[in-house]
């Protein structure tokens, strides 16, 4: 496995200022202590509910937010310690596709300006070469040269997302972050864009980071994945293995919550109680214990470790590994009473 990106113990915290001078100031722990590696040419999925930190994590990958601690290595180089010029160069190789095709395109730019902007910023000045390149890109994503001087408002959601893709690949990147690329689109367009992304990946040998809350998409498109909850990775590794044998109770609940359109078999429904707690004061131990149907007393205070259960399948859960053998509080393995209904 040739790795393209590695994150070592990355945390991203955002300070929250109190409204009044004596009000408590807090810190939002958007991402805490995440380590992962992404290999060349694979599609890496990040799944989780809103507010779990998946977008912040992706932004940290490409240097859009500065991690509070930890390091991000892209092609062996520490992104955060690169000099400005070199960072800019490395950044050309990493691009992003955004969720909302309506707000991510400048409404006053025409198609040519939108798609050629990255080249322009890089210092390209040959107008004709740029037009030729834009036409080539447009044809690749399924638009035509006639669209060159039209404006984003003339296009439908799916076509705009195609424009966003053309813009992202205009500098021949090797690493592309897709932040919920299809969730704002209609069902029938959904598959078109996913097929386009797969086609481009094969043609350009790209590495994708695919952020989504839709497990069915992730299962079908990703080679490896990470399940996030409240800023932490709960389970990660090969997506085949995770879908075949989900071990973390949160992954199991997420999978069970996916509604199915088949009537053949009645699947077991796990309905989680409550909401995601605030990332300002996350629980001490396992971040999931308040909603976990199988939480034990020890889960409240002892954070679980990330341990490999099988090849390329890492889980952070006391249920799977058992508690570490150090100073356990009394009754650590009792189920949490308040969660029983």
């Amino acid at each position: 496995m040739r790795e393209i990106l590695r994150m070592n113990n990355v945390s991203v915290h955002f300070p929250v200022k109190g409204g009044l001078p004596f009000l408590k100031r807090g810190v939002i722990q958007a991402v805490s202590d995440v380590s992962l590696t992404i290999a060349h040419g694979e599609t890496y999925g990040i799944v989780g509910e809103s507010g779990c930190g998946k977008t912040t994590l992706a932004n940290a990958m490409i240097g859009m937010v500065k991690p509070t601690s930890g390091e991000v290595l892209f092609a062996g180089k520490d992104l955060l310690r690169l000099p400005k010029e070199e960072f800019k160069k490395a950044r050309q190789k990493m691009q992003m596709i955004f969720q909302d095709p309506f707000s991510s395109l400048n409404p006053r730019f025409n198609v040519y300006q939108i798609v050629s902007e990255p080249m322009f910023i890089r210092g390209e000045d040959d107008q004709e070469a740029m037009i030729a390149r834009v036409v080539e890109l447009l044809e690749l994503v399924g638009l035509s040269s006639e669209d060159l001087y039209r404006y984003p408002s003339d296009f439908s959601g799916g076509q705009r997302q195609r424009l966003g893709i053309a813009r992202a690949i205009s500098l021949n990147p090797s690493f592309l972050v897709c932040d919920e690329p299809v969730s704002a689109l209609d069902v029938s367009i959904h598959a078109q864009i996913l097929n386009l992304l797969v086609m481009i990946q094969e043609q350009m040998k790209l590495t994708y980071v695919f952020i989504s809350h839709n497990l069915a998409d992730v299962k079908n498109i990703c080679d490896r994945m990470a399940v996030m909850y409240l800023g932490k990775v709960m389970e990660s590794g090969s997506s085949d293995r995770i879908f075949k044998r989900p071990l973390h109770p949160y992954t199991q609940a997420l999978l069970a919550a996916v509604l199915d359109t088949t009537f053949d078999e009645k699947r077991e429904q796990i309905i989680l109680q409550g909401d995601i707690p605030s990332p300002i004061d996350p629980p001490l131990g396992c971040r999931f214990w308040q909603r976990c149907p199988q939480a034990m007393e020890g889960c409240k205070t002892i954070p679980p470790e990330h341990l490999e259960v099988e090849d390329d399948h890492v889980v952070a859960c006391h249920l799977v590994h058992g508690f570490p053998a150090v100073e356990l509080p009394d009754g650590y393995d009792r189920p949490v009473e308040s969660l029983k209904k």
Binding site: Q192, A216, D260, D275
Partner: protein, 327 residues
């Protein structure tokens, strides 16, 4: 079974600078007593306009609405004035919107907002209304209902806000509830909670439900009868099980295939070619023919009628799919 709502030949048109936008074209809709009917379609197909027309919420002008009948609970409400409609809205027919944050008043506590329902429609005193509100919130499964009634919408999470809307919609035990994309803005685990509550409340209170959504999996989990809309027209109507096991309209088939499932094989996404036509520039004949694999010369010329195609089923297609294959 006498239907609670009978909508006949609804047409809604928006005149614009770019031409007429025919949002809804001749839609008939029947909702039975205690039935959950789903209206499915992509954005711009007219499903929200249809549901809002039932509640007479579409402003005219700009819209021009023509309808033969909106029979609700035995009377025709199509010519009711604003005063009469106010008596019906909230009391006998109520609505749940997609975005709970924008449909709740941000400067009123949620309790006061629900109290209003009882005070307006049942003439309760402040105190009696609050008691009923707390009971409604409890019923809907909100933890600490007494304290929560005094919170403002921004203090609640997305799932809790949606529950408050449910409590408000069910407050006066209406005969019909219209839910417009009730779970689209929610996370999957919260969606599962809210859908379970919605279904439970609907059964418990004996209400009928009109569910407007684009999400087929939500339809599969709670609807009884499904209407599929495309470009302002109903293209297929069927009981939910029949629709999912044997869809007849090529659009329904495509829509179902386009939804990725957990049971699918890797890296294969079935797609419907093209895009939904612009509402001011609809194609000739069957609106779906440019995207349809089975289109013939006939489909390009003429709009197929909605015909009966089985028990409780209707389909608008010259070449519907049958269980044994193509006709």
């Amino acid at each position: 079974m006498e239907p609670i709502l009978k909508l006949r030949n609804l047409k809604v048109v928006f005149p614009t600078n770019f031409g007429l936008i025919r949002a809804v074209e001749s839609v008939d809709l029947d909702i039975g007593d205690r039935e959950c009917v789903a209206l499915v379609g992509e954005s711009g197909c007219g499903k929200s306009v249809t549901s809002q027309s039932v509640m007479r919420l579409i402003e005219s002008p700009p819209a021009v609405t023509r309808v033969d009948a909106i029979e609700f609970a035995g009377r025709d409400i199509k010519d009711y004035g604003p005063k009469q409609m106010q008596e019906i809205r909230g009391k006998e027919m109520s609505m749940i919107f997609q975005d709970a944050m924008t449909s709740l008043n941000p400067v009123m506590t949620v309790g006061n907002q629900i109290d209003e329902m009882y005070r307006r429609h049942q003439g309760d005193s402040k105190k009696a209304a609050r008691q009923k509100t707390v009971r409604a919130l409890e019923l809907i499964g909100l933890p600490e209902p007494t304290a929560r009634a005094n919170s403002f919408p921004h203090e609640l999470s997305g799932g809790m806000r949606q529950r408050v809307l449910l409590a408000m919609a069910f407050a006066c035990m209406p005969k019909l509830i219209i839910a417009d994309e009730p779970t689209t803005a929610l996370d999957v685990t919260i969606q599962a909670q809210v859908l379970k509550t919605l279904r439970g409340m609907q059964r418990g209170c004996g209400t009928s439900l009109l569910l407007v959504t684009h999400d087929l999996s939500v339809v599969a989990s709670i609807a009884d009868t499904v209407y599929v809309m495309y470009s302002g027209k109903i293209v297929e109507k069927a009981p939910v099980k029949d629709l999912f096991t044997a869809p007849q309209h090529p659009y329904t088939v495509g829509l179902m295939a386009a939804v990725p499932r957990l049971t699918d094989e890797k890296r294969k996404f079935t797609q419907i070619p093209g895009a939904v036509p612009h509402p001011a520039r609809k194609p000739s004949g069957c609106y779906f023919h440019p995207r349809c694999d089975y289109a013939t010369a006939e489909c390009k010329k003429e709009m197929p009628p909605l015909v009966k195609s089985g028990a409780d089923r209707e389909v608008r297609c010259f070449h519907p799919l049958t269980a044994g294959g193509r006709q």
